[in-house]
Amino acid sequence: MGPLVVYEVISQNTNLLLAFFIGIGFGFVLEQAGFSSSRKLAGVFYGYDTVVLKVFFTGAVTAMIGLLFFSLFGWIDLSYVYVNETYLTSSILGGVIMGAGFIMGGFCPGTSFCGAAIGKIDAMIFIVGLFIGVFIFGEGYPLWEEIYKAAYMGTPRISEFFGISEGLIALLVIIAALLMFWGGEWAEKKFPREEY
C-alpha cells in the first residue's frame, strides 16, 4: 500500500503538494515550540533549556514507532523508503561543522528560516552565512571531493549493521529518549537561567 508514491497511489505532483503542506506544518510547529529563538536553541548546549532535545527525540520516536507499526500491519513496505547513503568521513566532518555553527550561530538551517520568517535579524544573517558556506563548498568542490566521498558504506541500517532486530533497536531508542527527557529536565533545574 505504501509508500504512496512508489505504489503510484498518488502522483509525483501530489507528493510535492503534500510535502509543501507538511513543510508548512513543520515550520509552524518549530516556531510554536520556540525554535525561532537562538537563545532557546543554544540552551541545549548549556543545559538551561533542552526543548530542542525533547522535540527532536519526540519526532524521531513518533516516526519510528509509526513506521514500524505500519510495516507490521502491512501498510508500508519499508524497503522502498528512501535511506540516505552513508559516507562516514563526511558525516563526521559535517556533523562537527554543523554543531560548531549551531553553537556559534544559535540556529540550525531549518530553524534559521523559521526565525527569518518572523523577522529575526540574527536568523537572516545566519542564512547569509549559510549561503556563503554553500558557495564555498560548491566552488571548492574539487578540493574536497576525495574526503567528501571517502568511506562510503551504502545504506546500512543500525539493525542490519549490528544484526539486531528493528523492534529491539526501536525499544532501545525509546528507552534512550526517555532517559534523555529525564536528563534534560534534570539539567534545566541544575543550570537554570532567569531570562533568555
Partner: protein
C-alpha cells in the same frame, strides 16, 4: 480516599515503553506484497499489451536500437546453439536471482523475453510484471514464429492486399539483414533475391509507444 492521578509524563512514558515492548516482541513483517494486483495483471493480459510483434523487434535489431534488450529465457545450452543478435541469457530458473535485478530494475531499455514458444516468456513476464518491473515485453510467437516470419518468410499470393505484400517485403529485408536462412534450407536461401530494403516499411498493426529509438 485518595485519587491516584498519573502525571502526563508518566502516561507518555508508559505508552512509549509498552509500544516499544510490543514492537520489540513481534517478528518483523517480511511479507512483500505484489506491486500489481491480480486484476491489473488480468487487464494487461486481456489487452495483450505485453506482446511485441516480430516485425517491431526485427526493425529495432536492424536499426541497432540501443534500447532493445532481448532476453533469452531458454536453458543455457539452447541459448548457445542459437540466439537472436544481442540477446542475453537468463534462464527461467535464474529469473529471481539478485544478479538479474539490475537488468529488470530500470526504465530505459525494453526488455523483451523470448523462448521457443510464448508460454515460458509469458510466465516470466507475468511474474516480473507483478513484482512491479516496467518495460517488459514478450516476443509474439517466440523463436518458432520468428523463424517462420522473419528468417524464412513465405511470399503471399500476388492477389493479397498491399499490406501483406509490404509486410513480406519488410520481412525479406529484415531476413537478409539479420542473417536469415540460418535455419532455412538452401532452397529458400536461393530465393531471397529481393533487394534488401532496410529498414523496411513500418510494421503494420498496432504500434506500441516505446522509449526512444523506435517512434
Amino acid at each position: 480516599m485518595k485519587n491516584i492521578t498519573l502525571s502526563p509524563r508518566m502516561v507518555i512514558t508508559a505508552v512509549l515503553l509498552s509500544l516499544g515492548l510490543i514492537i520489540a516482541a513481534v517478528p518483523k513483517n517480511t511479507t512483500k506484497p505484489y506491486k500489481l494486483t491480480a486484476a491489473q495483471i488480468l487487464d494487461e493480459i486481456k489487452s495483450g499489451t505485453q506482446y511485441l510483434e516480430p516485425e517491431q523487434v526485427a526493425q529495432m535489431l536492424v536499426e541497432k536500437d540501443p534500447y532493445l534488450q532481448l532476453i533469452d529465457i531458454r536453458p543455457q545450452n539452447e541459448f548457445e546453439k542459437f540466439s537472436l543478435p544481442g540477446a542475453i541469457s537468463i534462464p527461467v530458473d535464474n529469473l529471481l536471482s539478485p544478479d538479474q535485478a539490475e537488468v529488470f530494475d530500470q526504465d530505459v531499455r525494453l526488455n523483451v523475453f523470448y523462448g521457443n514458444g510464448t508460454t515460458q516468456a509469458n510466465e516470466a513476464w507475468m511474474l516480473l510484471r507483478q513484482l512491479g518491473y516496467k518495460n517488459i515485453y514478450v516476443l509474439r510467437g517466440g523463436l518458432n514464429y520468428w523463424a517462420e516470419a522473419i528468417l524464412n518468410p513465405t511470399a503471399p499470393p500476388s492477389t493479397s492486399p498491399n499490406d501483406d505484400l509490404a509486410r513480406y517485403d519488410f520481412r525479406m529485408g529484415a531476413s537478409q539483414a539479420l542473417g536469415g536462412g540460418a535455419l532455412s534450407s538452401s532452397e529458400t536461401q536461393t530465393k531471397t533475391q529481393a533487394p534488401a530494403k532496410v529498414p523496411g516499411p513500418k510494421p503494420t498493426g498496432k504500434k506500441k509507444k516505446v522509449a526512444g529509438g523506435c517512434s
